[in-house]
């Protein structure tokens, strides 16, 4: 009890403490400064890479949001559109509108002759221009017989030229567009018949072989359906699992085993989940290939461990004093969890889930395995329609050589990054808003 009695008093300092400290002070300050510089340098390097990446993507992708249109004076020739004059919608729909475009182009450039040159001339306009005319006529049959100036989509190579991505000084054989075509385009520019407009096609169309007609709507909808399935499956299951494991499960060898496996599952490469999905959902259960339903199931498998781990972390972060308070009031265990613990853990769980979902949104490997990599033009309208998702779309486009697809790839990446930032932002907002301090 008297142990302190034995301890001798501190010996007096042999040297003045001030000089001792001062001697080493310079070295200490230098070490501190050095460390701060290292830190700053590391952050600057990291920031530089991020800026570089964003500059590259935005620089490449920005032009994709603009699209070149050509104004053509189109004579809606009744002889072509409706030779029988009955205004039969079916006949109107089947008419050869491409002929009108061709006629219009010939009218603009009357001196062009020869099949080769003519085909080059017709190639200035996108192959979907006739559909646009058909649409106009079907909307308003009164157009037949009239002559209107119509803005039609320019072909990808014209668009590329306008955006300055083709070097005019190169030899003709080395560039995708001939001298003759360049001359026509310049004429059109001089006549004011060429214009760049905001690219609604990018957001309104599905995929296409023609770059000027290709859009990300199909992939966006595919991603939406897939993520919806993922969220609907993994969130409730994940939360329920987390709550059970954290609050109710007895601590024994079985629960330990489950815990270890959940943690391992989170580290499993995503492609493995894809293979699993292919084997189980498609081959065994016979679910349709390329469908958001299967994609969602596979991504759920991948997201579940993340949500469970985040959920358990959120549950453990609820202070034990709240549990004690509830139990001390005579609340049953379920009441304690339901009334107090879960509401307090929910922001954390949601944050974890959103981050898991953001990861799922960016995932492509497992989806390749279940066939969501197919070329799909139609925008999916349900969970079983064939579909693709944004990252896969990016992967597909990144493979294509046309300059216009390079642009669109970057544009799609921008959209994907935008959604990622949005989701992470939402997670931060949720956390800030519902976070409680004790």
């Amino acid at each position: 009890m008297n142990s302190l009695d034995d301890s001798a008093a501190l010996p007096p300092p042999s040297r003045d403490i001030k000089t001792i400290v001062n001697a080493g002070l310079k070295r200490r300050h230098a070490a501190e400064r050095r460390f701060r510089w290292f830190g700053l340098a590391a952050i600057s390097l990291g920031l530089a890479f991020v800026v570089l990446m964003f500059a590259n993507i935005i620089g490449k992708g920005y032009p994709a949001f603009w699209q070149t249109f050509i104004e053509l004076p189109v004579a809606f020739d009744p002889a072509v559109i409706d030779p029988e004059g009955r205004r039969d919608p079916k006949a109107l729909a089947d008419a050869d509108y491409a002929a009108l475009i061709r006629a219009s182009l010939r009218g603009l450039f009357p001196r062009v002759e020869g099949r080769r040159d003519l085909r080059e001339l017709y190639g200035l306009v996108s192959s979907n221009a006739p559909f646009r005319l058909r649409g106009q006529v079907l909307d308003d049959p009164a157009l037949i017989g009239a002559t209107r100036s119509v803005w039609v989509l320019a072909s990808a190579k014209v668009d590329t030229l306008i955006k300055g991505n083709i070097n005019r000084t190169l030899d003709e054989s080395l560039r995708p567009i001939s001298d003759q075509e360049i001359a026509w385009v310049d004429r059109l520019i001089a006549d004011g018949r060429l214009e760049q407009r905001f690219n609604t096609i990018l957001f309104g169309n599905g995929d296409s072989r023609e770059p000027e007609q290709a859009g990300i709507r199909g992939a966006l909808m595919g991603s939406f359906y897939t993520l919806l399935i993922t969220f609907l499956l993994s969130f409730p299951i994940g939360v329920a699992t987390a709550v059970y494991l954290e609050e109710f499960a007895p601590k024994n060898r079985w629960t330990d085993l489950i815990e270890v496996n959940i943690n391992n599952l989170a580290a499993v490469p995503s492609i493995v989940f894809g293979l699993l999905g292919l084997a189980v959902f498609i081959n065994f259960f016979g679910l349709p290939r390329s469908a958001p339903l299967v994609g969602g199931l596979v991504l759920s498998l991948m997201t579940l461990p993340v949500i469970i781990i985040a959920g358990r972390a959120a549950l453990t972060s609820v202070p034990p004093s709240i549990r004690e308070a509830a139990l001390g009031m005579g609340a049953s265990k379920l009441q304690m969890v339901g009334h107090h613990v879960l509401p307090l853990a929910m922001p954390g769980m949601l944050t974890g889930s959103i981050i898991g979902m953001a990861r799922a949104l960016g995932e492509s490997a497992p989806l390749l395995m279940i066939g969501m990599v197919a070329f799909i033009v139609d925008v999916p309208r349900g969970f079983t329609d064939p579909a693709t998702v944004l990252p896969v779309q990016i992967y597909l486009w990144a493979d294509l050589p046309e300059r216009a697809f390079v642009e669109r790839t970057s544009a799609a990446i921008m959209v994907l990054l935008g959604f990622m930032i949005l989701m992470n932002g939402l997670a931060i907002v949720l956390r800030k808003r519902f976070e409680r301090r004790w």
């Binding site: 142990s3 007895p250 004690e324 308070a325 139990l327 001390g328 005579g330 609340a331 307090l344 004790w438």
Partner: protein, 296 residues
């Protein structure tokens, strides 16, 4: 010191229901254990709770050894002792909060009135409604002040209708001496109150379910002296209607608020007695050493 045993036996035989007679308390049984005999009179005239030979084990650790003691009706009894002496452990046995700790095992007998609280027929939910608890750190739910107090009555289905609940909430806050401070801000979160107010809110929450016994686990250790004084005053007022068991590290507090004091040491109940006797003339050397500050 053998008189203690005899007195305890006599009280058991007299005051309680026939079942109580079966509680074994013979010195032969006690000597089987390696523990220190309790000094002082463990029985009271009007017991609310009876504890006999309570042992608590955490795994292999024998945390509480053969503790026998009565808690009188409408008395404030203080448990003091150094950290790890088992006083909080014992307190938590009284409303079975130890149940939540895995590996914790309780033997012996604890009665609340005539019911053995460790009996299978007693549900902890019912027990904890009868034996409320206030914790060391003020822990209001992160809900409004009103909801904090209304929670207990609500989950136990004690009231019919909003008006009745309103009355109960107000009455509880009034009893806890908090009504004037929070009357105008019932919808504000309980966590927005000051520490002392939060603790009184916790007391209001506990008394809203009208318990018979209130357990307090170092209720003032996180509070400043003024807030502490208010809680102590409140404890004194509450004594009229409730039996209060308080664990405290502050001996001055035990001396101020309690009528009886029990001193625990390394899992043993060393001494129990009237508070004034414990603080002026403790019988056991360990008690004396602890209260006079001679503990290593």
């Amino acid at each position: 010191m053998n008189t203690t045993t005899i007195e305890a036996k006599a009280a058991l035989g007299g005051a309680l229901n026939p079942e109580a007679r079966e509680i074994p308390l013979s010195s032969a049984q006690i000597t089987d254990y390696d523990h220190r005999q309790t000094v002082g009179k463990i029985t009271v005239d009007h017991p609310k709770m009876l504890c006999r030979e309570v042992n608590v084990y955490y795994g292999v650790k024998h945390a509480l050894k053969q503790v026998s003691l009565d808690i009188g009706a409408n008395e404030v009894i203080a448990f003091i002792g150094p950290s790890g002496c088992g006083k909080s452990t014992f307190l938590r046995c009284l409303n079975r909060m130890n149940d939540t700790i895995p590996l914790c095992r309780v033997t012996g007998q604890i009665q609340l009135d005539a019911d053995n609280i460790y009996d299978k027929s007693i549900d902890v939910v019912q027990l904890r409604a009868r034996v409320g608890m206030v914790f060391q750190k003020p822990n209001p739910f992160p809900k409004s002040i009103y909801e904090n107090v209304a929670y207990g009555p609500r989950i136990h289905g004690m009231v019919n209708g909003k008006a009745e609940l309103d009355d109960l909430v107000r009455a509880s806050l009034e009893r806890a001496g908090l009504i004037k401070e929070v009357e105008k801000r019932m919808d504000e979160p309980g966590t927005s109150l000051s520490g002392g107010q939060q603790q009184r809110l916790c007391i209001a929450r506990a008394i809203a379910v009208n318990p018979e016994v209130i357990l307090m686990d170092e209720p003032c250790s996180a509070l400043d002296p003024i807030a502490t004084a208010k809680i102590e005053e409140l404890i004194d007022e509450l004594r009229e209607n409730y039996t209060i068991v308080i664990v405290t590290h502050s001996m001055q507090q035990a001396a101020r608020v309690s009528q009886r004091t029990a001193y625990f040491h390394l899992g043993d109940l060393i001494e129990i007695g009237e508070t004034d006797q414990i603080f002026t003339n403790p019988k056991h050397k360990l008690t004396e050493d602890y209260i006079t500050g001679r503990f290593g």
